[in-house]
């Protein structure tokens, strides 16, 4: 199963850091780019709350400082997910994934609401613990096959990647990119600031889509 996401169109080798664009990774990369640009140019919306039992309603306004910080985090999150989309190195993928986890926490952590902060903290704990299976998986990849390059793994000449390593990788990604998995419980998505909150769910989904390709290689 060499060409899962299509034939690599372009491979950039920079030492042993390699980046490759296949139709699949380029699609995901462009989507991350699009939403990052949207996060840069959009101003946050003003969330409307209806007061219970009456016609009155209030809008939440995000202060400029908070907006700046969250926008920065959203951009960092976009960059991290773009990196995770095109990297051809398993360890780099896990690093980018861990970074997506941090920035996801950062995006919502600036919201001055106790519920949101608590949700962000709990999510952060899970994201932090997910780095264990993530890095463990990358180390197992290296130990079992002697290579971390996805191009090398896809050639099929190396020993097969143990199923445990793949499972650990998926568990790690699920833990890091938990945002959509956590939604049922999270106050995270209720936080105002749509362009930034969307980066949370988008980045998680993107790294999940990428890991689906990664585990099928090798």
């Amino acid at each position: 199963m060499g060409s899962l996401g299509g034939i690599p169109l372009y491979v950039l080798e920079f030492g042993d850091e390699l980046v490759y664009f296949s139709p699949y990774t380029i699609t995901l990369f462009l989507l991350a780019l699009t939403f990052t640009l949207l996060a840069i140019v959009s101003r946050p919306e003003r969330q409307v709350d209806v007061a219970f039992g009456g016609d009155a309603y209030t809008t939440k306004i995000i202060s400029v400082d908070e907006m700046r910080f969250r926008r920065f985090m959203a951009i960092a999150c976009g960059l991290a997910s773009m990196g995770a989309m095109v990297t051809g190195d398993v360890f780099n993928f896990t690093l980018f994934t861990a970074m997506v986890g941090i920035t996801n926490v950062g995006i919502v952590a600036a919201v001055k609401s106790p519920h949101v902060q608590d949700a962000a903290y709990q999510y952060g704990l899970v994201a932090l613990s997910a780095t264990v299976p993530l890095f463990g998986a990358a180390a197992l990849y290296a130990a079992a096959t002697g290579s971390l390059s996805m191009i090398e793994l896809a050639k099929g000449t190396l020993p097969a990647v143990p199923l445990v390593a793949k499972a650990l990788l998926v568990i790690g990604v699920v833990g890091e990119g938990m945002a959509p998995f956590y939604a049922a419980k999270a106050e995270m998505f209720r936080a105002p600031g749509a362009p930034y909150v969307i980066m949370c769910s988008l980045s998680s989904l993107l790294i999940f889509l990428r890991v689906a390709e990664v585990v099928m290689i090798g």
Partner: protein, 282 residues
């Protein structure tokens, strides 16, 4: 391929119209004419349009472009027989589009529609397992190679029937008025679409038309193989009618039940993938 694109969009809207009509007839209502959804798109397209004061302007308008854009891309991938992984990647990203639609306006109804759409994403992501099963059988995820494999070994419909069921549920959860359409349920007014009116809504309708065509056609391509165009069209209409029956006779589930059922299906698919993995691969 521009003409095909526009035709696919109109055909998708027609399918959605047929969907509404069949549901109405099953429920003994007269129902709208089958071209109602096309008229709908046209109607919205000539309403005066602006951006709500509370909305996040660029996101509010930009997401409509993204919505049409991703399904245009998916249409291209399907027509050229590209990777199935891309199409289902775009399918998953449609969740994010819904999320953005809902959140960008600031309206509480939109917000809950968007949040619900993300909740159900969690249970649909692992439906990728069925894509993996297809990959295990055919050794590739390129649509052209899958159809070539089917020309030799017969349709996947019989070979991988559980995957068919899982994928059918994917289609069902994207059809309006279905048991899993919690994002559009009526207590949220129109869910994530509530605040997108006028030209924005018309753009969304264009996206829905394309989406319906792409998903149904991909389903047929993957499980029945390459068919002549006429058979393809008939197949898609039949598929729509069967989906309409499923939608008409089942009530909408509560968000919790919807996610639970989808998760159960996912678990079953994982077991099936495990069996295939040990059975098919030596």
């Amino acid at each position: 391929m521009i003409a095909e694109l526009v035709l696919a969009m109109l055909f998708g809207l027609l399918l959605l119209g047929i969907h509404r009509k069949v549901i109405a007839r099953i429920q003994r209502r007269p129902g709208p004419p089958v071209w109602q959804e096309i008229l709908h798109a046209a109607k919205f397209s000539f309403k005066t349009t602006w951006v709500p004061a509370t909305a996040s302007g660029a996101l509010f308008a930009g997401i409509v472009l993204v919505a049409v854009g991703i399904w245009t891309a998916a249409f291209f991938v399907m027509m050229t027989g590209g990777s199935l992984l891309i199409i289902f990647g775009i399918y998953m990203l449609h969740k994010i589009v819904e999320h953005a639609f809902g959140l960008s306006s600031g309206s509480p109804y939109g917000k809950f529609g968007g949040v619900r759409s993300v909740i159900s994403a969690a249970s649909e992501i692992p439906l990728f397992v069925s894509v993996a099963v297809i990959g295990l059988f055919t050794g590739s995820l390129e649509l052209t190679e899958i159809t070539a494999w089917e020309a030799v070994h017969g349709p996947l419909f019989f070979t991988a029937f559980p995957a068919v069921v899982a994928m059918y549920l994917v289609l069902l959860s994207k059809m309006p008025f279905g048991p899993f359409s919690i994002v559009e349920s009526k207590e949220l007014v129109s869910g994530y679409k509530t605040e997108h009116f006028g030209a924005w809504r018309a753009g969304l309708e264009v996206c829905n038309g394309l989406k319906t065509t792409v998903l149904l056609a991909t389903f047929l391509l993957v499980f029945a193989g390459q068919l002549p165009v006429l058979w393809m069209v008939i197949g898609m209409i039949l598929l729509t009618v069967s989906l309409s029956f499923a939608c008409a006779v089942t009530p909408m589930l509560s968000p919790f039940d919807s996610v639970t059922i989808q998760s159960l299906v996912t678990a079953l698919m994982l077991v099936y993938a495990g069996i295939v993995f040990t059975g098919v691969l030596p």
